[in-house]
Amino acid sequence: MSIDIETARKVAHLARIRVDESDLPALAGELSNILTFMEQLNEVDVEGVEPMTSVTPMRLKRRVDKVTDGDQAEAVLKNAPDAREGFFAVPKVVE
């Protein structure tokens, strides 16, 4: 599978990573190489095999649906690049 420049641009946008126009051809080439490597998987007969979801066959534990923690606004905001008046601040989201 070969990735063209248009696909590379789309993937970069989906991943929310800004890639300069001039870097797109190299990126497309690298992604193509990696995908070619992955295509060995097409040699395997996977008919009737369930995709693996859990590494160990144990049932995940459940806990009671109740609040166990809270009132930590200060700690939660402590590492934010921009926090104001108890909120995370971001650029305008809606036009």
Binding site: A12, A15, R18, M38, L41, T56, K61, P91
Partner: protein, 492 residues
């Protein structure tokens, strides 16, 4: 002899007998750490915390209430969140991040009396096999040939360099595709990746959640047993951590493997395998046979497909896990221009904060999860993963107790040597280790010999799920038979 060269076992005994104090031991390690800057192993030093913990350890020792790691100075991989101490997964995107909480692994270590002298270098977000993707620059292997600087391996390269160079007594590592075992092999130390679910992942910065496990990197197998026991166990904050009793791993080291069955997988004898690695593998096989084990030729037919499956699954999980780095809640936010909207903020922040390899893997993961390709890549890889796991289940069902393989395809290579290589070439470093993560099994790397240039080489033992004790006992036998005592000559 300076006390920073001690093993956990020897330091523990000396501390209990009162021959040294935790403060003396910690001062010795801090001095070695400061003298070891050329190894670029420690990237955030915490001597004040260390001295405070050492004094507390001495108080507990004096009261006769010393837990298993009381007063043992350690290095902590930068992937573990440590309260109030920089924890940035060797990434610029987490620049300035100081967690408000403690990871379960470090909390357990501190509960067991361990002393943290600093945070250790690694590949960015644990993505790499040479420590060269780190935002701090590469860690350097204490082992050297001529004047060439060699990789300490990756991703836990700082941990490996620090332990091999005696900058600390032991270190934490994490292993998603070989990141404990490969650097351990490159530096002549012991590293174990436990069964998936043995150690809580809570507070460990996530790379690929279905593959990640933390584990010890130590100077001996016994140290690995003591250390592993301290960090194991169920944690209600990680629903994938197993609610199983934690055995006494040290007590499992009987040195007796008579009658055990050791599998030698024929698919690991790769085309073009170096003669030295093959000879080492044969030597290790003979050691286990001489110890009374039965050696059995086995087949793990889907081995060849482990790497491509891994390089679909790990990036897919990473692309999802790393979505949280968006410039809002922690770490870096790129400078914005007037009129930039929120998507500009995301895209610029992630382009500035993530290094090239991380960007590449996030994009590969995004692609294989995207509409139209999900079945062709991601689901197919998960099916192949099920077959790889089944291969192991089949050989264990035949009565195999442990599997012996090489740990790495080569000894440590030179820093910068792979710079122009295709990313896939670097991925081949994981060829012997990655199957173990996909199947969720425990695997341990043990130093067994030196190559013609005097560089360490390791072998890997793979065990049954939850049988780390038995696995470590096999490793203990191998360690004793190999008698690996070589140390790098100090140049730093």
């Amino acid at each position: 002899m300076s006390v920073n060269t001690l093993t956990i076992e020897a330091a523990r005994d000396a501390l209990k007998k009162g021959e040294i104090t935790a403060v003396e031991l910690t001062e010795s390690c801090i001095a070695a750490m400061d003298a070891g800057d050329a190894l670029n192993a420690f990237v955030h030093k915490t001597p004040e915390i260390a001295m405070e913990q050492a004094r507390a350890a001495d108080a507990r020792l004096a009261q006769g209430d010393a837990p298993s790691l009381c007063g043992i100075p350690m290095g902590i991989k930068d992937l573990f969140c440590t309260k109030g101490v920089a924890s940035q997964a060797a990434s610029n995107i987490l620049a300035g991040f100081r967690p408000e909480y403690e990871s379960t692994v470090t909390a357990k270590l501190f509960g067991a009396g361990a002393v943290m002298i600093g945070k250790l270098n690694m590949d960015e977000f644990a993505m790499g096999s040479s420590n060269e993707t780190s935002c701090y620059g590469a860690a350097v292997n204490p082992w050297k040939v001529d004047d060439r600087k060699l990789t300490a391996g990756g991703s836990s390269g700082g941990s490996a360099a620090a332990v091999a160079g005696d900058l600390c007594i032991a270190a934490t590592g994490t292993d998603t595709g070989g990141s404990i075992r490969q650097p351990a092999a490159f530096t002549g130390i012991v590293g174990i990746k436990p069964t998936y679910g043995r150690v809580s992942r809570w507070g460990t910065i996530a790379f690929a959640s279905s593959l990640d496990q933390a584990g010890p990197m130590t100077k001996s197998v016994r140290d690995a047993a003591i250390f592993l026991e301290a960090i194991s166990g169920h944690d209600e904050k990680d629903s994938t951590s197993a609610d199983l009793p934690v055995p006494d791993f040290e007590a499992a080291l009987t040195g007796d493997i008579r009658g055990k069955k050791i599998g030698i997988p024929r698919e690991y004898r790769m085309d073009g395998m170096s003669a030295e690695i093959e000879a080492l593998w044969n030597k290790g096989t003979e050691m286990l046979r001489d110890a009374g084990a039965e050696v059995v030729d086995i087949s793990l037919p889907h081995t060849k497909y482990a790497l491509p499956a891994y390089y679909v699954i790990a990036p897919a999980e990473a692309s999802s896990n790393l979505a949280r780095y968006d410039g809002v809640r922690y770490g870096l936010r790129a400078p914005l221009e007037a009129g930039d909207g929120i998507v500009d903020m995301y895209e610029k922040t992630r382009a500035l904060g993530f290094g090239k390899e991380v960007q590449r893997r996030v994009m590969v993961g995004t692609y294989v999860l995207s509409a139209g390709f999900y079945d062709a890549y991601y689901n197919r890889a998960r099916k192949v993963r099920a077959l790889i796991k089944r291969d192991f289940e089949n050989v264990f069902a035949q009565g195999i107790d442990a599997i012996l393989t090489p740990a790495t395809p080569s000894p440590a290579f030179g820093l910068g040597e792979m710079a122009s290589a295709d990313p896939v070439e670097m991925y081949l470093n994981d060829v012997f280790t990655v199957t173990v993560n996909l199947a969720g099994l425990p695997g341990v790397s043990v130093p067994v010999g030196l190559d013609a240039n005097g560089l360490p080489l390791g072998l890997q033992l793979i065990g049954r799920p939850w049988e780390e004790g038995d696995l470590l006992n096999h490793a203990y036998v191998l360690e004793r038979a190999a008698g690996f005592v070589a140390k790098p000559s100090k140049w730093w």
